[in-house]
Every structure is written in C-alpha cells, then in structure tokens.
C-alpha cells in the first residue's frame, strides 16, 4: 500500500510538472538565439541613438515591423566601419544579393493579426513589448507574447490620444467615450 502511495505521488508530481510546463509552452521568455551576424541593437539604438523606425521602416504603415533589407544596412556601412569582419560579411551578402536569414525571436501564431501601425500611432513605445532593446547586444524576449499580455493593456483605459491621433481626440467622431483599446476577438483574429 505504501509503495502505491509513493508511486502515485511520483506520477502526480510528474503530471503536475508536465502540465505546468505545457501551460508555459510557447511563451519563450528568455529566448535569445544567436543570429547569423552579430548585430548589436545596443550599439545602434543605444550608443548611437538611431531611431527604431530608421531601420524598421514601414512599421508605422504596416502590420509588420519589417526587418531591414541589406540595402538599408549598406546605406551607412558602405562607409561606416566597412573594414570590420561582420560588415564585410554583410557587404558580401549584398553584393551577391543573398539575403541574411535571421532567426525569429518574437513569434505570434498565424491566427493573430497584430497591427504594429496602430500601436505606433497610439504612441506606444517599442520597448513596452520588446523590452529595453537599446541595452541588448543580442535580442532576448523579455515579455510573454500571450493574449493575456495583450488584454492587460487593452483592458486598462490608459490610452491617452497622441496629438497626431485626430480620430480619438475628436469628440464628434468618437462620441466622447473613454478611448480604451478594443477587445473584440475579431480585432486580432480575422
């Protein structure tokens, strides 16, 4: 009987551990893969204060935050630090027109249609979701990209319309309602 107890306890503990791991599956917090080129956000966005949107151009117009093409890199690096090994690697790839294959860090399921553009328009800083990118040599995921995280913001009526956001500032168009973010399923799930 005692042995049965022990066995049951082990199985229950194992199952509990499994369930806990399963629930956390896909969160990927702390994920920080090595990229094919040692690109440092700390150097670019931190030390040199290059705005995020300089390279990730189109993030204010697209649902995606486009990874810059090699011609964007070479726009500066044709001159800047052109002698270093990583830049030589980029220049060679650009000359051969072979794209560099980065490893994806932030991964939303394909049934989620997150729109970068409206979050940028609402004045949300990139760091709100992506963490202190300007301090990272290698990008690491610091937040869970789960629906709960999304709704945590969308449920708080903490959105202050930016001066550019005519739509939400106009009482005529928005009926003077508090400008909280939408929570309908179909906002993200098409």
């Amino acid at each position: 009987m005692r042995e049965h107890w022990r066995l049951t306890l082990i199985v229950v503990l194992l199952l509990g551990f499994g369930a806990w791991k399963l629930l956390g599956m896909g969160e990927n917090v702390g994920y920080s893969p090595v990229q094919p080129i040692p690109f440092s956000h700390k150097l670019h966005a931190g030390t040199n204060h290059i705005p995020c949107e300089y390279c990730h151009a189109g993030v204010d117009r697209s649902r995606l935050a486009p990874i810059p093409a090699l011609n964007v890199c070479m726009g500066c690096h044709a001159v800047v630090a052109s002698g270093t090994a990583p830049i030589k690697q980029v220049a060679a790839a650009y000359a051969a027109l072979t794209p560099i294959k980065f490893v994806r860090v932030y991964n939303l399921p394909q049934f989620v249609y997150f729109q970068h553009r409206w979050h940028i328009a609402a004045g949300i800083a990139c760091q709100t979701c992506h963490g202190p990118v300007q301090d990272m040599d290698q990008i690491v995921q610091v937040k869970q990209f789960t629906m709960a995280e999304c709704l945590d913001c969308h449920r708080n009526d903490n959105y202050l319309p930016t001066p550019q956001d005519k739509y939400h500032r106009d009482p005529a168009t928005f009926h003077n309602r508090p400008a909280n973010a939408p929570q309908d399923c179909n906002v993200c799930h098409n």
Partner: protein, 1124 residues
C-alpha cells in the same frame, strides 16, 4: 423538387443535416488495424503529458528573411494594387490585382474599364488558381510523337482515387482521348536554346507549308507582332477557339454585307439600354464572348426603377443562365427555335404590318411559310404568345435586343437562326440603337470552325509540314468526326505553345511553356478603339516564356527577323525605373533563359546584338501608334505610366457608341425555307448542348474553384450530365433510385458514342436531353482530367464545312449502368421549416423566398411580402437583441431581382477568404465549404417553373442561434454587430451549425487546407487565417475588408463613410444586387435600398438577422393578362 413532393429521402436529409456520420468513417476502417478507442486515448494522453514534462523547452526555430535589395514600392505587410487586363478569355475585361510582396492574391474588376466596370465573372475570380496551378508545364519538353493511334486503344486508365478528390472515370466516346495521360508520356526536358533551334529550323524548312493556329488574339501591339512574325515567316494563320461564331459571322455578312472592321468582327450588344430581351437559345450572360459586359448591363436593367424593369422572354430547350432570369420562358426543342423566330417576324411584319419591312413583297414571301399560329402549334407554345410578344417588342423598338444561336441553338439551321434574329433586330430598329457593328464592333471572338475544317483537309492532303499551335486546343474541342487527330498524325512537325500539357500538346513533338497573363506583358483591344494593357505582377513561376517573346525569338533566327527585332544599339537604353506610383516588377521584360538563348545573328556586328523583348516592342508600338495618333499633351512616359495605372485607354468613348444602323439586305431572307418537321420517334430526344457557365468551353477545367462551385442552373458540381425532365425520366425508366443515385446512359450521334450520367430536373423540355460542354478533359491536370464527359464528341461538322453542329440531333438514351452519385450542394442545405409553415396562398417557401409580379407590385409595394407574424422570443424584451451599436452596425441588402445567379460572388468569396475546396466525395457528404452559396428555388408550373436565385450567407443575426449553444464562446457578436467566429477558440462541437437555421456554417471535417499542392498556397490571402481540421467557419462580412476600411478612415481621421467598405461578393456582383453598409447610417445606400419589398429570411424565427432581401419581381408584361 423532392422537397416539394416531400420525398422521404429529402425529409430524412432535412432531419439529419449530413449524409454521413463520422462514426461511419471509423467503422469503415479495416478491422484489425489501428482501433483507437476512448480508453486508448486517455492512456496515451497520460503518457504524452508525462513525456512532455521531460522534454526540453520548445523553441520552434523559424527564420525571417528580409530582402537583400528591397524594391521601393514594396513594404512587407502592405498590399500593392496593379491595373491589368484579364487574359483568361478573349473578352479582356479590365482587372485590378492585389499583390502582397510580389504575389497576386486577388482579382477584382477595374472600375475604370468600360466593359466590366469593376466586376469580374467567376472565371476571372478563379484565375489565380490557373496562375499557381501546379500542373503547369515548367520547362520546354520534347515528346515522342504518337502516330499509331490504334496502339493506344484498349490501354484504359486506372481509376484514380484519393481521399479528397475521387474522380470518376468511364469510357467516353473516344478511346484515344481516354488513353492519353501525362504520366504515361516520356518527356524530354529541353533548354530554350535547343527548343528554339529546332522550331526555327522547322519553320524555315516548311516555308509556306507552315501553319500557325492560335486562339483569338487582339490588342494593337500583339496583333502587330503577329503580323511582323507572319512577314518574317510566310506562315498561314488560322484562328480557332473552342467555340466560334461562324454562324453569326456568316449571317451578318449575308444580312449586312462584309463588315467594315474585318471579317472576324462581331456585333456588340448594349444590354444596359435594353428594356426588353428576347433570346432564342442564346445565353449572352452565361457564356459567349463578352459575358461580364452583358451581365452588367442585363443585371442593372433587371432592377426595379420606380415601376419599371426590363422584360426577358426566352425560348430555349433547357434553362440557361438567361433563362434562369426569364420573366416568361418557353421550353422548346432546338429545332423549333428557327420557326419561332421566323414566326415572330411574320407576326410583326406580315400580320401586324409594322416596321419598315411591312409591305415588302419579298419579305412577306420569305416569311409566308411561318404562320405564327402554325409555328406555335408545332412548338407547343401557348397560342397567342408570338402575337403578344410582337406587340411588346414593337412598343419597345429601339430599346430591345433579340439574340439567338449560342451553342444550344447551334443546330443545322444555326446560320438561318442568326439571320432571322438579325432581321428581327433590324425590323425593331435595334440595329444602331442597342446593337453596334459599324464603327466599333467586338473583336473578342475571331475564331472560325470553317477555317479549321479547311486546315484539316490540307493536313490530310499533306500540305502542312509544320504546325504551331498556341492558345487553342483543337484536339479536345473538335469532335472526332472532324478528323483532326488522324490529320495531325500526317503533319511531320507539331509544336505547341501552351501553359500545360493539354490534349493537343500531348500530340506534339515539342511543347514550349507559355506564361500566364499575370506573368506577362501584353495589350488588348476587345472592341475596336478600346485599348487596355496587361502588366506582369509576378516573376514567371516556372521556366516559361510568353508567346510574344517566343515569336520574337523565333523570328530573330532569320535575317528578316534580325532586321525587325534587333534591340537598338548601343545596349538597350535602360528603362527608367518606374516611379513608385506605377511600380512595375523589374526583370520581367526578358526571361533570362530567353536572353541567353538568343543566338548570335548571322550578320553579327562587332557589338553583340540581342533581340528586343516584347515589353520593348509593346512600349514602342504604343508610343508610335497609339500615343502618336492621339494628340495628347504631355510626354509619352507620362502617358505610358498613366495608361499602366489606369489599365485602360479609351481615346474616344463617343465613337464606341452605337453607330449608324446598317441596312438589312432582305434578299438574304429568301434562304430560309420552312422545313417539314420530322416528329421525333418514340423514345427519341433532341440533343441540346450548352456551354457550362462555370467551366465555359473547358479551357479552365483544371480550376478547382470552378469545378466545385455548383452549376448555377443544375446545382451539381464535379460532373456534367444529360439533364432530362422528370416526365421523360419516368417514361424512359431513367429516374433516380431511392438512394438518389442516377443512371449512366449512352448516346450515339453519327457513330460517336458518349456515356454520361442522367440527371433528372425540371426546366428541360420533355423532348430534350441537355448536356454542358467543358468537361471530360483527357489531359489538363490533376483536378480536371477525367472529370465528366466530353460533350464535344456529340458535335459534328456541317456537311458543307461551314461550321460545327452541336445541338438538334435526335438521340436515344440507352442506360448502361445505374447507381451513380451526383454531388449537388443545393441538396445539402435543406432548411428545416419545422412547424413554422405559413399557410395560405404563398405556401411553404414563402418565408424564405418572396416573389410578386410587376403588376402586383405597382398596385401594392408590399405584394407577396406580408409582415412577419409575431413569435415568442427567448429574450426578455421579446424583440431585437439588446446590444446597442452607436457607431457601426454592418448589414446587407440583397436585391433578388438583380441577382442573376452567375456565381461570381461565390468565386470571389473562395478567393478572398481562403475557402478550401473539398472534392466531389466530400461535397456529396454535405461538407462543401462555400461561405456564400446561391440557392435556387423553383415556383409555379412544375413543367416550366419560375426560378429565383438567392445568395445565402451568414445572416449575422442579432439573436444568433449559434452563439447561445457554443460551449466555448467561439462565436460571438462583436461591437459592430458582426457574428464572428474565433477559430482558435473553436473546439468543433458543431452545435452552432446544428442550431443555425440558415445552414451557412461550415466545418473542417478534414485538414482541407493542406490538400493544396505547391505553389497553390501562394494564392492565399495573408489577411485571412487558414483554418485547420476540426474548426467551424463561416462568412464574417469580409472582416479583413472592414478592418481595412476602418484603417483608411483612421488615417483620414474621420469615421468610415458609406461606400468605403465593399465585401468581396458585393464588389464583383455584375448587377450590384448586394448592398453592404452601416445600418446606423439611415442614409447609406444599403439602407435606402430597403424598400417595402424588403423582408428577412425566416424572420418569424426572431433571429434578428441583419440581411434584408428584396422581393423578386417578375415582369410578365402582356403575358400577365393571358395567365390571369
């Protein structure tokens, strides 16, 4: 109809919702194999959970691959739109292509194009599947020529079965066609250089004994290039399409003299000006050379304007798409069409003494043999029909169109019928008012059966050494009696330029892959004086080369060609990069392989010379011919960019209006003589062939959308069949059995036999068997090969070689097998009336489809549309839902009067919303996935019923039945009143579908979306989730388009305006029967369309749907008194 009679089988289906239950599938699994019960599942899942605990953290390693050199016009995640011209058929409608990162995902009509005015037909909507078709030919190939036809006979193909696409294979008339299959052929892959060398050598060797067969080609630069090619090689050019207007062209020439715009121009019909349409067997909106233009005009005239709408009278053997919309339809045998048309002329000119021909002795003599009363008696049409019709037509003279012929009317008398119709149009003063042929005729159908038959004769006599075929498939569409196949065996060299290994390509020595219209440059001139451009929107997917570039490369092998096509020295001036406003994918101009293949010219200069690309040729031609002659301000570059952006250049719209009326030569009428009607023997039927409104002439048979979307009339899919009337079926013993399985019958015409299933449905003359063309392809690809029977086999050339006769043969249906299943989605969606039948004069379907006649509507706008009876409600307030929608509440109004049943909306929805295709077996089981369907309802006389077509989609109910039964709240109403389906939350209980009274929810029983073969996945809309197995889906009013509308509004800083958002179905509807808009805005076009005719389907169920339908109105005209 089983519904009407309350057949037990139908009642069973109504109760059970699906034909098969999942348990049956598992029971059918082989015994002793893997049996996986509930207990096994629990055991395994425990183990899996324990294993998961020990596994490492999941890191699905995915890659992000940015551009190396990003094109300036592309931002990932933002769609680009390009104007182009549809190349699926020669109608050449204007289209706008939506592309995402260089891949087109949606075809829409170009609103600037005067032909289709923003709409596209179902074939155009499905065009993406042709572009991304995995069965396209990928590289030039050489084949072992098949000379010994007999050797192939008897080597029957094995039936192919797989999970989702079971195909049906039985012997068709031609054993030869049955036995050609790509798998059996040894293909030798060639480089373009090798292929060009071989073809060029053959062309040079053949000299004047070479023949180029093409389909219809129009467009200024394309025509000029063809002329240049023909000047380099003394090649004879034959134009042959599957269906050709020989009879029409000959009749027009006899009636009006040789056409000014060339021998192969045909009249244009202005359906948007026709208050009355009379058709003798023709189907101008379901087929023919310019169906979408006609459908647009026809559909708009069907709308009720005040108390006015067009009147449509149709004489036909079996319902066609125009017959579906007829106010008065008369079912007649094909052989009676000519006497009826002549009888109508007799009534008008001789009896009524109207029109300018009244009193003309010659005309009276020609019409003498067609006494209306005798004609009506012979055709079994109610007495007085022609008298009333002539009176109505005369009252609408100059505002009517009489059309005739088509495939159904292509009997031995087809030319006479076209002549009679031309006479009627001239007598009714429609010539020059609704019909134009003098200044800007149609160039959309230039093929000629007669020319092809003459060519076959020459081939047989050994006068042809090299045959080059492009855009034409005579081995499929010519009947065996024409003798094309044996004649082809006598031609030493056959080269086919085609997108796929079609039937003709199978018989060639060499096949060169051409490009799809979305990959190539080109232009079009569908009507004289109307120009449009084709621009590529994607790099060629495979190692293909456009037909035009192939012509240039072949011509470049001769000194004359070098003189014509050498690129200007020094190296061709770089085309300035197009400004971002008119982006043009770079690099499409010359396929690399083609450029590499260009040989050094004989008289090589020091600098290497290369042939120009067709893009350069096109641009130069437009500069020198079109721009230079148009007296435009601004540079050519500005003009070119503007023309590319607009997609169309219409220099003189006024000139394309109906020109002066041509004079009818009455002497031509004397050729029409009444023939002594031979009554069919007992058991004999008259054959009536029709062009399928979905598959057309068969060119698109490998398109899964077009195969799966049911035929608008018969509502069957993945099949064609002889259709006969119920009475005839009873008489011949060909009725469906108790299980709803049909017989397969054999028909013999002039020695050619064809086997096909026999479908029994109302709407066919009892003495007629009707069968559509376009099926039975022997070699087209995985989807279309061996689907259905090839009805071209039942055609035969006319004795004098003037054309091909399709209909009118006397046939016997002899049963050869029984028990054949026909998949019909209409039969899958029985709506349960329950106890909610409204009794009284309207009967059973009254709460779904409502109809009235124009006279009734004039007297009472709510005619046929009684207010709903109050019913009990689950909700406390007893009425509409309690949600409030302060800003937006999306709704729809659908005008049943304007719906012509063409299926364009269905195809648009498939393309927009990534709706999967499931195949015949699954459709039969009731698992088709269409989010919108066209339901067809019969009413009135069972032998010749009225038809109503009703687009049925999710009604976005306020009190949705689906929502209250979902255990996981995967379907809910959002803040704008849309009933949304959250796929990632759905667990697939199917309760919602069971509780939906409209039967519009669709369940993924299998992983249908995975059935797509690469590269078909490129056609998917990236803004719509691809659903997986076990998930329910349904219409959501094109949520992604509503989002896009909101985004545009946000950018403007203003609310969404009326007309900002169009759903995919609404956008492509040729008659704009679908209105979509905001129900909060009472002034929106959608709300204004809700007149007294508005009703909601099954309103008494209190589901509070947001779609309002408008009562179908029938304009009975003078027939109304006759019936009353």
């Amino acid at each position: 109809m089983g519904d009407l009679r309350q057949d037990p089988a139908v009642e069973k289906l109504r109760q059970e919702e699906f034909r098969s239950k999942p348990q049956e599938h598992f029971d059918a699994l082989p015994q002793g194999g893997l049996r996986f019960g509930r207990r096994d599942f629990l055991k395994w899942s425990t183990g899996a959970l324990a294993l998961a605990a020990t596994a490492c953290e999941r890191k699905p390693v995915q890659q992000i691959i940015p551009y190396a050199q990003q094109p300036p016009e592309i931002t990932p995640g933002i769609a680009n739109h390009y104007a182009s011209t549809c190349r699926e058929c020669a109608a050449a409608c204007g289209i706008v292509l939506t592309t995402w990162e260089g891949r087109p995902t949606k075809v829409e009509g170009n609103p600037l194009h005067p032909l289709n005015r923003g709409t596209v037909c179902p074939l155009g909507q499905a065009a993406l599947l042709n572009l991304y078709d995995p069965d396209r030919l990928r590289t030039p190939v050489g084949l072992q020529r098949v000379h010994d036809l007999a050797g192939l006979v008897g080597d029957a193909p094995q039936p192919k079965y797989n999970l989702h696409f079971p195909t049906n294979v039985w012997k068709t008339g031609s054993a030869f066609r049955n036995n050609l299959h790509p798998i059996k052929r040894q293909l030798k892959e060639l480089s373009w250089a090798e292929a060009d060398q071989q073809v060029g050598g053959w062309l040079q060797g053949a000299g004047a004994r070479a023949v180029l067969v093409t389909g219809t080609i129009h467009g200024p630069a394309r025509s000029a290039l063809l002329a240049d090619f023909l000047s380099v090689y003394p090649v004879r050019h034959v134009v042959y399409d599957s269906l050709n207007p020989d009879a029409l062209v000959a009749a027009q020439a006899a009636a009006y003299g040789a056409p000014a715009a060339g021998p192969q121009s045909t009249p244009r019909y202005f359906f948007d000006r026709a208050e009355m349409v009379v058709s003798f067997g023709a189907d101008p909106i379901g087929g023919g050379p310019s169906r979408q233009e006609h459908a647009y005009g026809f559909g708009h005239q069907r709308k009720l304007r005040g108390s006015q709408m067009s009147r449509v009278v149709v004489f036909e053997p079996a319902i066609s798409l125009v017959g579906l919309n007829a106010d008065s339809r008369h079912l007649v045998r094909p052989s009676q069409l000519l006497p009826l048309a002549m009888g109508l002329a007799h009534q008008l000119v001789v009896v009524n003494q109207q029109s300018r021909f009244a009193g003309d002795a010659g005309v009276a003599a020609a019409l003498a043999g067609f006494e209306p009363a005798a004609v009506e008696r012979e055709a079994d049409v109610p007495a007085g029909t022609l008298g009333r019709l002539a009176g109505e037509l005369w009252a609408q003279r100059g505002k009517s169109i009489v059309c005739g012929g088509g495939v159904a009317g292509a009997t031995a008398d087809q030319q006479m019928l076209e002549l009679a119709v031309a006479f009627l149009n001239s007598a009714l003063e429609n010539e020059g008012a609704t019909i134009e042929a003098s200044r800007s005729p149609s160039l959309q159908a230039q093929g000629s059966n007669a020319a092809m038959l003459a060519l076959i004769q020459d081939m047989n006599q050994g006068k042809v050494d090299t045959l080059l075929v492009y855009g034409s498939n005579p081995a499929y569409s010519l009947p065996d009696a024409a003798g094309f196949l044996p004649a082809l065996a006598k031609v030493p060299h056959v080269v086919v330029i085609a997108e796929r290994l079609d039937e003709t390509a199978q018989l060639a020595d060499l096949v060169l892959p051409s490009l799809h219209g979305m990959e190539s440059w080109g232009d079009a001139e569908p009507q004289a004086g109307l120009y449009s451009l084709v621009q590529p929107t994607i790099e060629p997917l495979f190692n293909g080369r456009s037909f035009e570039d192939s012509l240039i490369q072949l011509a470049y092998r001769t000194p004359a060609g070098v003189a014509k096509f050498t690129a200007p020295p020094p190296p061709p001036p770089p085309v300035p990069p197009a400004p971002p406003t008119a982006p043009v994918p770079a690099g499409t101009a010359v396929p690399k392989a083609a450029a590499a293949a260009a040989p050094p010219p004989p008289a090589a200069a020091a600098a290497p010379q290369v042939a120009i690309s067709f893009h350069d040729y096109l641009r130069a031609h437009w500069r020198d011919q079109i721009y230079a002659k148009s007296n435009l301000a601004g540079s050519f570059d500005d003009f070119w960019v503007g023309a590319l952006q607009a997609g169309v250049f219409d220099p003189d719209p006024q000139r394309r209006q109906p020109g002066p009326a041509r004079t009818f030569k009455t002497a031509a009428l004397a050729a029409i003589r009444p023939t002594a009607a031979t009554p069919p023997a007992a058991g004999e039927l008259e054959l009536s062939v029709a062009a399928s409104p979905m598959l057309g002439d068969g060119w698109w048979a490998n398109n899964a959308f077009l195969q799966e979307i049911p035929d608008p009339i018969w509502k069957t899919c993945w099949d064609n069949h002889f259709t006969i009337a119920p009475a005839t079926a009873k008489q011949l013993g060909l009725e469906a059995d108790d299980e709803g399985r049909y017989a397969i019958a054999e028909v013999t015409v002039a020695g050619q036999t064809l086997q096909a299933p026999v479908y029994v449905q109302v709407g066919v003359h009892p003495g007629v068997a009707s069968i559509p063309l376009g099926f039975g392809r022997a070699s087209v690809g995985e989807i279309g090969t061996d689907v259905g029977a090839n009805a071209y086999d039942l055609a035969r050339p006319a004795g004098d070689g003037s054309g091909i006769i399709y209909s009118g043969a006397k046939v016997k249906l002899s049963p050869v097998a029984a028990g054949y299943l026909i998949a019909s989605p209409q039969g899958n969606n029985y709506i349960d009336f329950g106890d909610n039948q409204i009794t009284g004069e309207y009967g059973r379907g009254e709460n779904i489809v409502r109809e009235a006649t124009l006279v009734q509507i004039e007297a009472n706008p709510r005619a046929g549309n009684p207010p709903p009876e109050a019913q009990a409600s689950l909700w406390d307030n007893g009425g509409p839902s309690e949600h409030s929608y302060p800003d937006y509440h999306w709704g729809m109004t659908i005008d049943l009067n304007a719906c012509i049943g063409c299926n364009a909306c269905v195809a648009a929805c498939y393309a927009e919303n990534n709706v999967p295709v499931v195949g015949k077996d699954q459709v039969w089981r009731g698992r088709e996935m269409a989010w919108i369907r066209i339901d067809r309802y019969f009413s009135g006389d069972e032998a010749n019923p009225d038809v109503t077509t009703q687009p049925m989609l999710c009604q976005q109910c306020g009190n949705a039945g689906c929502e209250s039964v979902c255990p996981v709240i995967a379907t809910i109403t959002d803040a704008e009143g849309i009933n949304v389906q959250v796929y990632n939350r759905c667990v697939g209980t199917r309760f919602c579908s069971n509780n939906c009274i409209y039967k519009v929810r669709r369940f993924n029983f299998y992983h249908y979306s995975k059935v797509r073969a690469s590269p078909l996945e490129l056609a998917l809309n990236p803004m719509v989730t691809v659903r997986s197995r076990g998930v329910m889906e349904k219409c959501n009013f094109c949520l992604q388009r509503i989002h896009a509308g909101h985004y545009r509004a946000k950018e403007r800083g203003l609310p969404v305006r009326d007309g900002d958002i169009h759903t995919a179905c609404q956008q492509t509807c040729p008659s704009q029967a679908i209105y979509f808009g905001n129900m909060v805005d009472k002034n929106s076009e959608m709300m204004r369309a809700r007149t007294e005719r508005g009703y909601r389907v099954l309103e008494e169920m209190n589901f509070d749907s947001t779609i309002t339908y408008l009562t179908k109105v029938r304009n009975r005209g003078a027939d109304e008194e006759g019936q009353a």
